[in-house]
Every structure is written in structure tokens, then in C-alpha cells.
Symmetry: C2
Subunit: 211 residues, 2 copies
Amino acid sequence: VKIAIPIFDGITALDAVGPYEVLARIPGARVTFVATQPGTKRTDNGSLGLVADRSLADLPDPDVVLVPGGYGTDEAENDETLLAWLRAAHETTTWTTSVCTGAFVLGAAGLLQGRRATTHWGSIERLRVFGAEPVHERVVTDGKIMCAAGVSSGIDMALALAATLTNDVVAQAIQLGIEYDPAPPFDAGTPFKAPPEVVDLVRKAIAARRG
Amino acid sequence: VKIAIPIFDGITALDAVGPYEVLARIPGARVTFVATQPGTKRTDNGSLGLVADRSLADLPDPDVVLVPGGYGTDEAENDETLLAWLRAAHETTTWTTSVCTGAFVLGAAGLLQGRRATTHWGSIERLRVFGAEPVHERVVTDGKIMCAAGVSSGIDMALALAATLTNDVVAQAIQLGIEYDPAPPFDAGTPFKAPPEVVDLVRKAIAARRG
């Protein structure tokens, strides 16, 4: 299984690395970080570099594409090289997927037209710009497109992907390998569960960052 | 708050990037990836490079140290430059922490002697080599040392750290920002919950890798 994760400056590291950690453990899978221009990409808060080993052109026919999000998707949505690569790859993928605002890059490539999709709760209504129907679920599948909600939800999506690409035993072995028995110290992971002042704080932070 | 994440070849990416994604969102925090020799470090399965921007010597006095795990800890345990830096940094840290087999690096530095600690379930008994008492919990705190269990548990530890470094509202805002409302498709994240054949499969894979 050839898995391509396109990255770019301004990505959210966990959007890419959460699923990577799961997918790279599929027996026989090869995960490659690709970019329009290979090399080091800086994350959205600038303090980490992730290396794209290959150009998009080096990997024209992945079985699985996973597009991570981050504020850098504002630019990635207008990267015609990336969008053309996504459209072409999608013709032959088994799964075309996104995490968080990576959905907007799929949308900009025209791949979400008329489909149910999801992204980070703070930007979910914007999916309509691309003709998609926003769905408030952690992982949304429509045909061979799979979208995860915000950041950490990519881990759950990747386990579901691993199960479809192999079987439940392998997916469970991966879950056990990464000891994914989550126990967050708070129950504030969605705007439906977090205290109102916390939701307000995050909404304001997103608005400030978006400018 | 100055947060240092030492990395090395053979790290498990999510051990470092899960906590990074949480800690980098603490207002005023600066997370720096450091290494004995700065530059690109390859993850344990080889398909991702993470960049250490600074040398250990550049950051002698972090407030928080977080040591990730991975098969590369076998070598890191014998990196005297890293061990000496950990011992010196620990004198003045607020928190000295590890994820997964990163605990063995703290142990090799002599920091776990007589302490309760944890690491990946598959290697937990080895903590005794370093005079530590193995505890089967997801996050274990003893004094100013905090250890997370395997890989993904670093996210939960980082949220607990964020709460102690700031307050519950900020920690919850970070959780909401990364939409951490986990919903794994299986309940197989610990050897106590996974089906026996899955536990057996993972134990064999670990043994094969360890050689």
C-alpha cells in the first residue's frame, strides 16, 4: 500500500503525524511525505520542521492520500500543482482523505462537490463553499473520500482506514502498539462538551489568527 | 515557559509530536526540538524526518523537558552528552517528563532511582533496571517527574502538564482546539482490553524488532 501525505508550510503537525503513526504500522505499507517542493516544511506555530522526502511528481499513483490541515491550507488551497496532483491521484486511489482543514484542500480540488464531509468544528460551515454538506461527526465517509474532524481525530480516522485496508485484528494490533486507550484529563474536546467560556476563548483565538 | 524536546534517530514520531501539539499551544510557551547534533532525525520506521533546530548546549535551562521514546532509545540511553544534559537540566526544571520508552533515557540518566514510573506496556518491567517501580497507569507523577505510557499517552500527559503550567480553562481550550474527543473504532488500547490474539501479535512484533 502506497500512502502519500502531502505537507506544506503552516501545517498542523499532529494532523499529519497522528495518522502517519498508525498507517506506517500497516504491514507492507510505505508512507511517503510529499510536497510541491520537497524539503523541510515548518508547522503552523513555527517550532517544528517536518521533512517532505519526495516531490508530488515522484508519487503520481498513491493508493491512499491523506491531506493534513493547519493555517497553511489557506495557501495550499491555491497551489495549482497540488490541486492538479490531488485530482489526478484521486482517479486511482483506494481512499482520498483529509484531516482538519485539509478538507478545504480537497474542496479546492473539486473533490467534495455534493459530498458529506467534515473538518475542524471552528471552520465547518466553510465546507459549503466547496459544495459539500458539513457533518458534525468525528469521521465522515462518502464514497472513497474520508474526512476527519479537527487535528487529533486523524488518529481515529487512520485506525478506521487501517481496518479497511487490512482487517480488524491488524488495526487493533496497531491501536495496542501505540497504546491508544485515551484518557484525557478533561471532557472538553468538542464545542458541545466544553464549558461555554472555553468555546468562546477558542473561537476568539481562531478569529484572531484568521485576521 | 521554555520546553525542550530532545530527539534522536529512531524516535517514534507521535511520542514527540502529540505532546508538542498540546504544549506549543500554551500561551507564551516556546517549544524547541533539540539534539546532541542538530539536524534531521529519522523516525523508527524511517519514513519521516523531524528537524532538531538546536543543540542541547543551546538550551541548558528548560523549564520542561520531554523525552520521547522509540527503538532509538537503545542508543540514546548510551549518549553521554544527552544523559549529562538531562541530569543538569533536571536540577532546575519545573517538570522532567518522558513518553513511552523515553523513560529509559531518564532512567539511564539516573533520574528514576526509587521512583514510581511508567512506559510502554510491552517494556514496563525493564524500568526496574533503573531502580524504578513500574506502574500500570497512563500517566504517572512522582515529584517533578512525569512519565506517560506508550506513544499516544503523551497527549494525555501533555494536557495534564498544560493544566499545571497554566490552569484548567487554558488546558481545556487546548483540548478543544485540537478537537480531542477521542473515539477509537476499537477498544484495544491496552493489553488488559485487547483480545488475547492481538496482544500476542504485538508482543511477538516487539520481540522480533528487539531481536
